[in-house]
Each structure stands twice: as structure tokens, then as C-alpha cells.
């Protein structure tokens, strides 16, 4: 495969930013799937860290090939999602948020203490096996899958339970099961994003997956909106590019992310891209009077 020279230049100059756009897009989708069923998880940064650490260890210590490592890197995040999701999703929505919000900070303390994962120094020299096309292939696959699911009985059930969980249950929707499935999907997406980022920056440390990235991921989805799977990705892109353009204000980046969340919830509940996707498969919508 030959790459045209202009693209090669672009990738070389802005490679890190382009990769970050793809990875943050995946993280925004990890937030989207949970918000789309009317829940709030703040564990995505923690799931990302678990994917990054478990993926890096599989590469460094077990020397497994990357096509095994990448899918396997969601195993640990999913296990954590199940351990927290099963008990909390039987309860009201605040429990999942409360139980996940501390997860990142707790894991940070654990990483620092465990020599196997490099302690406070983190893990170095992770081979750079994730390239740009791989990141974007994952992103496009995730968007397409979420779009197809959105236009199906599952997508309708998801929107129904977000609007009114009781009414959805009366329609026959097993609300806790769908919510758990959404959380597991979120853990998969975040875990893969973590594994990809670990294998393109060559270094991971214990401080990258705590409270601040967790809230930043939420700001991606709230800025973009959750009417379609594209919207949160665009939110992530805006919030990833903005600090690149406004380097002088890097101290205030997190202040800005926090204010974005406040403003979005209070004044822009649909996000910047408020358009809501239909919930009926295209062919069925077109085929009027098929009965």
C-alpha cells in the first residue's frame, strides 16, 4: 500500500493529534452507549486504564501478537464493569455513577503499589503497534455498529428506557439487562481505546486514568450530544482540537471542560448536534403499506 506524499506529510506532522482524535472518539462512544440507556457511568477512564495496562502487559510480558492483544484487552475492563454493574443497575441511576466515579482513583493507588505494572514509574517501551489506520478502523466499526443497533428493536428499547424506564418495562423491555449490556459495551470500547493508546505512545503511567479524564470524557458526549453516534465523536474532536489551538490557556483546559458540562446540561441538553436519529431500519421505513 502506498500513501500519497501529502497524506504522509500530514500524518508525520500531526500524527499524535490525529491518533488522539481517533482514540478520544472511541472514548466518547464509550460514554454515549451508557448515556443512551439513561445511565451515567464515570468509569470509562478507569476501563481505559485497565485496557491499557492489561494490553501492554500482554505485549511486554507474554509477547502475544497485537491481533490477540487488542481484543483480549477488553477482558479485564469487562470484568470490572460486571462486578460494579450487576449490583448497581438493580438500583436507581445514582448508584452506578457513585460506584464508578471513584474507580479510577482507586486503581491509580493500586497501580502505584504493584511492581508488575511498573509502580509509580508506569510501563515503558511498549512497542508502537497501533497505527493510525487501525485506530480509525476501530472507530468507524464502532460508529457503524452503534448506528445499525440504533435502528432496530434494541435501539428503540434503548431510547424508550432513557425516556421512561417504567414505561419501557411495561413494553416488555428487560431494562437492567440492557443497561448492563450497555455498560459492558462501554467497557469494551474504552478498553480497546486504552490498548490502542498504550501501543501508540509507548509509555503509560498510573496518573492518566483518574478523575479528570473521566469527567473530560463526559464533556465530549455532552458537548456533541447523544442523538446519533456521530455527535459525541464530534464533541470529542472539538474538545481535543481546541487545546491545540489555544495552547496559551492550557492551565484552564479542565476549567473549560467543567464549564462545558455545566452549560451543556443547563442550556444545551441535546448538545451541539441535536439531530436525533430515526429508530426504524431504512428499508422498513420506506416500504409503506407492506402489509
Amino acid at each position: 500500500m502506498t500513501i500519497p506524499p501529502w497524506l504522509d506529510d500530514l500524518l508525520w506532522t500531526y500524527g499524535n493529534v490525529i491518533n488522539a482524535l481517533g482514540i478520544n472518539g472511541l472514548l466518547a462512544l464509550a460514554m454515549y452507549v451508557v448515556l443512551a440507556v439513561g445511565q451515567l457511568s464515570l468509569g470509562q477512564a478507569a476501563f481505559m486504564g485497565l485496557g491499557a495496562y492489561s494490553g501492554a502487559l500482554m505485549t511486554l510480558k507474554l509477547q502475544l501478537p497485537f491481533y490477540v492483544v487488542l481484543p483480549a484487552s477488553c477482558v479485564v475492563p469487562v470484568a470490572f464493569a460486571l462486578a460494579i454493574g450487576i449490583p448497581t443497575l438493580r438500583l436507581s441511576g445514582v448508584y452506578l455513577a457513585i460506584a464508578t466515579i471513584g474507580l479510577g482513583e482507586v486503581l491509580r493507588a493500586v497501580y502505584v503499589n504493584v511492581d508488575l505494572v511498573g509502580g509509580a514509574m508506569g510501563l515503558n517501551g511498549i512497542p508502537e503497534k497501533a497505527d493510525t489506520w487501525m485506530i480509525y478502523a476501530c472507530l468507524i466499526l464502532a460508529i457503524a455498529a452503534l448506528w445499525l443497533v440504533g435502528r432496530s428493536r434494541i435501539g428503540r428499547a434503548m431510547e424508550a428506557m432513557r425516556a421512561d424506564a417504567t414505561a419501557a418495562a411495561v413494553m416488555g423491555v428487560d431494562v437492567p439487562r440492557y443497561q448492563l449490556a450497555a455498560l459492558v459495551t462501554s467497557a469494551v470500547l474504552a478498553g480497546v481505546a486504552g490498548c490502542l493508546s498504550a501501543h501508540q505512545s509507548s509509555f503509560i503511567g498510573p496518573n492518566e486514568y483518574g478523575f479528570e479524564p473521566a469527567v473530560t470524557i463526559l464533556s465530549f458526549a455532552l458537548l456533541g450530544g447523544i442523538g446519533t453516534p456521530i455527535a459525541p465523536v464530534i464533541g470529542a474532536w472539538i474538545l481535543t482540537l481546541l487545546p491545540e489551538l489555544l495552547r496559551g490557556f492550557s492551565d484552564l483546559r479542565l476549567v473549560f471542560n467543567g464549564i462545558i458540562i455545566v452549560v451543556a446540561v443547563l442550556f444545551l441538553p441535546r448538545g451541539l448536534i441535536g439531530w436525533r436519529m430515526g429508530r426504524i431500519a431504512r428499508h422498513a421505513r420506506m416500504g409503506r403499506g407492506a402489509a
Binding site: 428499547a157 431510547e159 418495562a169 426504524i280 431500519a281 428499508h283 407492506a290 402489509a291
Partner: protein, 262 residues
């Protein structure tokens, strides 16, 4: 065999007994009504039947299955549909999408077939849309299919809720104060709709305050007072039952009823 049968159904809230040992036996077919003064426990009874509230005591059988411990969604799959006193349509979804949600239990496409659009997915979606349009036609909303549910008038939202509950062709349809907030013309149209539903394979159980509506429509009436059943029988006998008149109707309403009956 009874379609719905409760035995000693009881629900307590911190010292207050909302539903007190209610025995209900609803046979298949027809329109059944539960009436009673405010606070008699009617809505709690509906919530017990649909599984939104767990009973403190007693059992509940529906369509030959003991559903006392079954979660709401499983009861829906057995053929139990309902509407709500305060309208609960999915406001942002279109009218058609609302009704399609009501078909959830009849659709079975798995994730692989949804992701590939293969394995019968297309045919199933087409069937679902057709069934949803049929349900909309039943309530007279066929031409509103693509509008957002929130844009419908109050009365139309009530009809949409009925279409959504009817889409899956439930064995039993619970209507919680369907005529609330409707004008006389809308109420008359609603009565006609309920008759049409009951003429099909769906049994109707309703809670309603509008006595004219209940009396003209129901085959069978249960009266609750303070969570207890105080009467059960045909509408003709409710009017003459002293316990009901005393406990529920009161002198003024009773007179009004006689006047409307004369």
C-alpha cells in the same frame, strides 16, 4: 379458567394498607372496571398487577402462570399491556416508533442479524412496521405516524398510548383512567374504541372516575374502598347496592346517577 386471578393481594406502605386482601377474578373477554373513591387503592392495584409494585402478601395468576414474583417485562411478554393515568408516551420518538416499542416482545432479531441486516431482520422489521400501522389505524392515528409524539394533542397522546399497548396484541389491557381530561366527544370516541378492542381477542380492565363511561361500557364491576373489595357484579346491580352507595357514591352522586339513568 380465569385470565387474571388475585388471592389475598395486599400492599402496605409503612402502616398504611393501600390494597387489602383483594380477590379479583377476571374471566377472558369483555370489559371489566375497578371503581372506588380517591385513595381506594385502584392505581396501586394496577401497579401490583403490572409488577411495578411488589405485593406484601397474596398471589397473582395471569394466563395460567403464577406471576407474583415475575418482573414487569416478563408479564408484558405473557400478554399484559397497560396505559398510565399520567400519559407516558416517549415524547421525542415518532408516533410510529412509540408503537414499534410496544412490539418489543414480539421481535426476536439477535445482534448478529441486526449488525448484518441478514437472517430475517428485514422481513421482521417490515412486519413490525405493518403491525404498528395497523394498531395506529385502530385508534385513528394512521396519518400521524411520522410526527413526534410530543406534538400530538392530549387526547391523541392517550390514544397513542393505547395503540402502543395494543400493538403486541395483549391478552389483557389495563387502562388507568383513560377518559381523564377528555371532553365529552373524545370520551364517546374512546368508549367506542374500548368496545372495538374488547370485541377482539383482548380483555379490558379499566380504572375510571367517569361513572357514565364505566356504567355504559363495563360488563362487570369491582368496587374498592379503603383497599378492600366491597362489591363485585354487573353494573345494573352496582346502582342498587346499598354498601356501594353508602361507601362510595354518596347522596349527591347517587341522585345524579339516577337522573342520568332516568
Amino acid at each position: 379458567m380465569m385470565l387474571l386471578e388475585t388471592k389475598g393481594l395486599t400492599r402496605r406502605y409503612q402502616g398504611l394498607v393501600a390494597v387489602d386482601g383483594v380477590e379479583l377474578a377476571i374471566p377472558q373477554g369483555g370489559v371489566h372496571a375497578v371503581i372506588g373513591p380517591n385513595g381506594a387503592g385502584k392505581t396501586t392495584l394496577f401497579n401490583l398487577i403490572s409488577g411495578l409494585v411488589a405485593p406484601s402478601e397474596g398471589t397473582l395468576r395471569f394466563a395460567g402462570t403464577d406471576v407474583t414474583r415475575l418482573p414487569t417485562y416478563r408479564r408484558a411478554a405473557l400478554g399484559l399491556g397497560r396505559t398510565f393515568q399520567n400519559i407516558r408516551v416517549f415524547a421525542e420518538m415518532s408516533v410510529l416508533e412509540n408503537v414499534l416499542t410496544g412490539l418489543h416482545t414480539t421481535l426476536h432479531a439477535g445482534l448478529p442479524s441486526i449488525l448484518t441486516r441478514l437472517g430475517g431482520f428485514r422481513a421482521e422489521e417490515r412486519r413490525a412496521v405493518a403491525a404498528a400501522r395497523e394498531a395506529l389505524a385502530l385508534v385513528g392515528l394512521a396519518d400521524r405516524a411520522s410526527q413526534p409524539a410530543a406534538s400530538l394533542s392530549y387526547g391523541d397522546q392517550r390514544r397513542l398510548e393505547i395503540a402502543r399497548a395494543m400493538a403486541g396484541q395483549p391478552k389483557l389491557l389495563l387502562l388507568d383512567e383513560p377518559a381523564a381530561g377528555m371532553n365529552p366527544a373524545e370520551t364517546a370516541a374512546l368508549a367506542e374504541l374500548v368496545r372495538r378492542i374488547a370485541a377482539g381477542s383482548t380483555t379490558v380492565l379499566l380504572v375510571e372516575h367517569d361513572m357514565g363511561f364505566v356504567m355504559s361500557l363495563s360488563d362487570h364491576i369491582t368496587v374498592l374502598n379503603f383497599g378492600r373489595r366491597i362489591f363485585e357484579g354487573p353494573p345494573a346491580r352496582v346502582r342498587s347496592e346499598p354498601a356501594v352507595i353508602e361507601a362510595y357514591l354518596g347522596a349527591r352522586l347517587a341522585a345524579k346517577l339516577h337522573a342520568s339513568h332516568a
